[in-house]
């Protein structure tokens, strides 16, 4: 009795198929549904796996090195998020009342605001950001939008920059230097 090469290959294939079937059975038991119902937990598990991969390449010091703590914490995340996936207990809260679009739009406004900040400086970029967000928040009174968009950044500029001496981005063209100095000298 001898085993042909073909047989050997098919034997390996069969073994592979068995492994795949086993994995499939495990996945079935976990339930793909629970993976789908806990996307954030699954994301945290994958993220922790990436962290462990990077951390395992850290040089090992004497005894407990720099990689120990990140790896231990990541394993903890995998453990607890894993329980969440297995029990499918990740619940989406108030999802029916929620509309994601406004949150995405506001995030986009904020990203634009932070992008403009180094270029235009705090004063000008805030004066651009405020009317956009105020309008998006359903404020239609032009006077109110103008007052808030100009008054608030200028007030902040004086409070932060002149009274509390906190450094704020001035931008490529430091427009804010055109603002008059405070009439009184504030010293503490």
């Amino acid at each position: 009795m001898f085993i042909t090469y073909d047989c050997l290959v098919s034997y390996h294939e069969a073994e592979e198929i068995m492994v795949i079937q086993k994995v499939g059975a495990v996945l079935d038991r976990i339930g793909l549904e629970s993976v789908r119902s806990s996307p954030l937990s699954v994301f945290f598990i994958l993220f922790s796996a990436v962290v462990i991969f990077f951390a395992s390449q850290f040089p090992s010091g004497d005894g407990v090195g720099p990689s120990f703590f990140p790896i231990a914490v990541s394993l903890g995340i995998i453990f607890f998020a894993g329980i969440d996936v297995l029990t499918g207990s990740e619940t989406e809260l108030e999802i029916s009342e929620f509309d994601f679009r406004p949150a995405a739009v506001v995030t986009a406004f904020l990203v634009g605001y932070v992008l403009l900040m180094p270029l235009l400086g705090f004063l000008v970029s805030t004066m651009l950001f405020m009317p956009v967000v105020l309008y998006y928040s359903d404020i239609r009174s032009k006077l109110l939008v103008a007052a808030l968009s100009i008054g608030f950044p200028v007030a902040l500029f004086y409070i932060f920059g002149r009274i509390f001496l906190v450094r704020l981005p001035e931008g490529v063209i430091p427009v804010s230097r055109l603002l008059p100095q405070l009439p009184l000298v504030v010293t503490f």
Binding site: G61, F69, V73, T107, V114
Partner: protein
């Protein structure tokens, strides 16, 4: 000694600028606390960068004024429109709102003001008397004990916040993971810095907090509809002082809730919301034959909840100042405020900065006296704050979040960190993950890691060092219990 420190504290507080900060902080706190969705944590996180150029004591007085004012004022919308202004006022609704429906909103607010004052004062007195004792005992703590404390802090936070223990743990551990970014304190190795110079000193955790509590909450509000839930208050609130019979009726329950609330506040992770629920629950257990019964507009219910939640403010400062372990998310931010000034909260603080500590103690007492006065005189005006449309407030908060993050180091990079944390926090809350454990994880991780590694160096790598220190062992067992108990309970509930 103590008399000397207190007199020095009084000198510090007599400065007109400090008084201005105190009063301004209380007003801001009352303003934000009165508006549902604006919490004490958010206000303090967003305004923290104003305090950087101040003296540490001045900054703390401003932030504590906001804290006390917001926790007090949270009761006003809870009573009037059935929506707590801050999470800690949730238990005030039970009896506060029925009173308002009977047309007795003014009476409920006056009772709430007195009870907040009583609870706050009791808790600050507890802070003054107990924290030096605890700090003294903690001076003998070494690395194993501090590791155990950090471990305990994380587990108890995860077990008390939110509905899900596993989500609380994941949130806390994520915070710890974020805290490992930067130069490794022991070997100097750069961890997860991706060659970005801004990350060498680690992720600015205040930027993360501003994102989690400011931006995430704002995105949530926009998702729900920025102008949804704009309830109007037209009820006129008249009168200044509660009647003598009301005072007599609420006195015992206010004092009892103040003592219990201070104790609960001192447990790491248990903030004003949990304190108020427990004190309210205890009040209903102890006072059975009251008319009207609890839940139908009993002023004692309002007093129990309000004394309890304000008592948690002073209580939360006990572990914060004596051990460096935050009692709730506000005190986690206060730790950040102190660290900016190179003041390290922990047992050593009582020897290094006694005057600062006594300025905080006496200042916090004074803050509650001012809250009593403002609450009495201004109740009618504070109630009107609820009518400010949220669409006017949120754009301002969003700007303050961005500016607050940039002002940390004068670097736009931190605004990106803040935005990232905000979006993450928004998604996490949507999926039922509590955010408070993450903040505590951020604070506790360096304490946990440094002391774990130092302990293992001391023991030559053997983990038995945690078993041979009785204090560390007890604390670690308590921490394990904090995870095991809810787990066992949920398994039993499912069985």
């Amino acid at each position: 000694m103590v008399v000397e420190y207190i007199s020095q504290a009084l000198v510090n507080l007599a400065d007109p600028f400090v008084l201005l900060l105190m009063v301004g902080g209380i007003f801001l706190g009352i303003l934000m606390g009165s508006i549902p969705g604006m919490t004490a944590t958010m206000t303090i996180a967003v305004l923290l960068s104003f305090t950087f150029t101040m003296e540490p004591s001045q900054g703390m007085i401003l932030l504590l004024g906001i804290y006390g004012g917001a926790v007090y004022a949270g009761s006003i919308p809870a009573i009037l429109i059935r929506t707590p202004g801050t999470p800690s006022a949730a238990a005030t609704i039970f009896d506060g709102h029925p009173l308002s429906q009977k047309g007795e909103a003014g009476r409920a607010i006056r009772v709430s003001t007195i009870a907040s004052f009583v609870g706050g004062i009791i808790s600050v007195l507890a802070l003054m008397f107990f924290s030096p004792v605890i700090a003294d005992a903690a001076l003998r703590f070494r690395s194993p004990e501090f590791f155990a404390l950090a471990f305990f802090g994380l587990t108890i936070i995860a077990s008390v916040s939110g509905d899900s223990l596993t989500k609380g743990m994941v949130s806390g551990l994520l915070g710890m993971l974020v805290a490992t970014v930067g130069i490794d304190p022991v070997t100097g190795f750069h961890r997860f810095t991706f060659d970005l110079p801004e990350l060498l000193t680690g992720v600015e955790f205040i930027a993360v907090m501003i994102g989690l509590f400011g931006i995430a909450e704002g995105l949530r509000k926009y998702s729900q509809g920025i102008n949804s839930g704009n309830d109007r208050v037209d009820q006129e609130i008249t009168g200044v002082f509660p009647s003598l019979s009301d005072l007599r009726s609420i006195a015992p329950v206010s004092v009892g809730s103040g003592v219990l609330g201070s104790f609960i506040g001192a447990i790491p992770g248990a903030g004003g919301d949990i304190a108020a629920f427990i004190t309210y629950n205890e009040a209903t257990r102890w006072l059975k034959d009251t008319v009207p019964s609890f839940g139908e507009g009993n002023i004692r219910g309002v007093a129990a909840a309000e004394s309890g939640n304000n008592a948690s403010t002073g209580g939360a400062l006990i572990p914060t100042l004596t051990l460096g372990i935050p009692g709730d998310s506000v005190s986690a931010i206060l730790i950040g405020a102190l660290l900016v000034h190179d003041v390290n909260p922990g047992p050593g603080l009582y020897q290094e900065e006694p005057v600062l500590l006594y300025t905080i103690f006496v200042g916090f007492l004074l803050i509650y006296v001012f809250i009593l006065i403002f609450g009495m005189l201004g109740a009618n005006y504070w109630a009107r704050l609820i009518n400010i449309p949220k669409s006017h407030i949120w754009p301002v908060i969003l700007v303050l979040c961005v500016i607050g993050a940039i002002a940390l180091r004068g670097n736009v990079f931190d605004a990106w960190i803040m935005l990232g944390a905000g979006v993450l926090g928004y998604v996490m809350r949507l999926r039922g993950y509590p955010l408070a454990p993450m903040v505590l994880g951020l604070i506790l991780a360096p304490i946990a890691e440094e002391n774990l590694r130092r302990s293992l160096v001391l023991s030559g790598g053997s983990p038995t060092i945690f078993l041979t220190s009785p204090i560390a062992l007890v604390i670690i067992l308590l921490g394990l219990g904090a995870i095991a108990l809810p787990a066992v309970r949920s398994i039993r509930a499912n069985a």
